[in-house]
């Protein structure tokens, strides 16, 4: 048992991919660093906060990336984004079995402004191109910095998302919501509320992630292997039918839960008998319970039939 949360991005790679199989593109020694940060007199990182490359997962060639949440919150700058896009395009060129994204990011790196915004949109387009080529994309979200902003959207462009309870997935982060709408709307210092609202269990119950695992590298690895296999069983490319199903799911969510202000009320409305007990459940017990009530469990295409 080894915590996924506690590891750096670089340390996660050998735990998730087959040991010793990962070959990095543009490794730190290539020194492809952000030109923008130097202009702002800010520290750079030799990998610009992301590791990209090609490895083996369960013996099959899988391309991958890991974002380092410790460097500027994993935020996407121009170089960081270009590395992701380059890896994704190469995955298509080389006919990869799948692409695995170890996401941990606050979204666009504000220091790099438009270059970062464009980079994130290019990453999304590249992910959809990978899927259009019949190559599944699976996102893992289990880092301390969560997956927010443009990278939150990017994660949902994948065929499936695997989360731990500790992982968080959302658009605006807690501090952003509190700053924009006041502490009465959202108290960003209330950690239990933050995790109830954005954490893996809530995302699993709402159908925003397709697997919920314990904070364990082995559990993430097995879930990634299973998610790739499941995706290959169905339609890998994004289809109109999938988009319409997603739209229906969101419309139902707004209709059923739009008036709720507390995630536990949402869980109760889903039919969960004792919502207060949810945060304390271990991953396996939670999944066994949640599978009876979670939304989106029957939305086939996007999740490879899960």
């Amino acid at each position: 048992m080894s915590s996924y949360l506690e590891l750096s991005a670089r340390q996660r790679i050998p735990h998730i991919f087959d040991a010793g199989s990962f070959a990095e593109f543009l490794p730190p020694a290539a020194r492809v660093v952000s030109p923008h940060l130097a202009q702002l007199d800010a520290p750079v990182s030799f990998d610009d906060g992301v590791i990209v490359g090609r490895g083996l997962l369960d013996g099959r060639v899988v391309f991958g990336a890991a974002q380092e949440g410790g460097f500027m919150g994993g935020a996407v700058g121009e170089v960081h984004g270009a590395k992701l896009v380059g890896m994704l395009r190469r995955a298509v060129d080389e006919g990869a079995h799948a692409v695995l994204l170890l996401l941990e990011s606050g979204g666009v790196r504000l220091h790099e402004a438009n270059a970062g915004l464009i980079a994130v949109s290019e990453v999304m387009r590249a992910i959809l191109d990978v899927r259009a080529a019949g190559i599944p994309v699976v996102a893992l979200v289990g880092g301390a910095n969560g997956c927010f902003g443009g990278m939150g959207i990017t994660a949902r462009c994948a065929n499936s998302v695997v989360m731990s309870e500790e992982g968080r997935l959302a658009m605006s982060g807690p501090e952003v919501i509190e700053t924009a709408h006041g502490v009465e709307e959202f108290d960003a210092r209330d950690r239990a509320l933050v995790w109830r609202t954005t954490g893996g269990k809530h995302r699993y119950l709402l159908g925003d992630c397709q697997a919920l695992v314990a904070d364990d590298t082995g559990a993430f690895r097995q879930a990634a292997i299973a998610a790739i296999a499941a995706a290959h069983q169905g339609e890998v490319a994004l289809t109109l039918a999938e988009l319409l199903a997603e739209q229906d799911m969101l419309a139902r969510r707004l209709r059923d839960f739009g008036g709720q202000i507390e995630p536990m009320e949402v869980w109760r409305a889903l039919g969960v008998p004792d919502p207060k007990a949810i945060p304390m459940l271990e991953a396996d017990a939670f999944v066994a319970l949640a599978d009876n009530y979670r939304a989106g469990a029957d939305a086939g295409a996007s999740t490879g039939g899960r």
Partner: protein, 104 residues
């Protein structure tokens, strides 16, 4: 930001191994990139740090590091965000050990 350069001549051991990166550029932390380089037996260290004005402290930490390892033909590059001297020393040792497999 401040950039510091150190060069220690006539090290004893040219380390075998491939370039390694340890640590993360985050608050109170640093990343250390270590790689073999033909430097006429010297060890060169470049430090880019967000904490300006600590050159004397860096020099002391680097002298201690060189005394411990006596590396030859090695280039070390550091991106620092205000790591303490103890953290810097530990990261440097980690970098050498990851490149050489832990052998002195």
């Amino acid at each position: 930001m401040e950039t510091l350069h150190f060069r220690f001549e006539a090290g004893g051991k040219p380390p075998a191994g491939t370039p390694q990166l340890v640590g993360v550029v985050s608050s109170g932390n640093l990343e250390v990139l270590i790689e073999p380089a033909a430097l006429s037996g010297a060890c060169e260290i470049e430090v880019r740090t967000a904490a300006v004005g600590f050159g004397a402290t860096w020099e002391a930490v680097m002298r201690d590091f060189h005394a411990r390892w006596q590396l030859a033909d090695t280039r070390i590059c550091i991106n620092d965000m205000g790591a303490t001297p103890a953290v810097v020393s530990l990261r440097l040792d980690q970098a050498v050990e990851s490149m050489t497999g832990g052998l002195p």
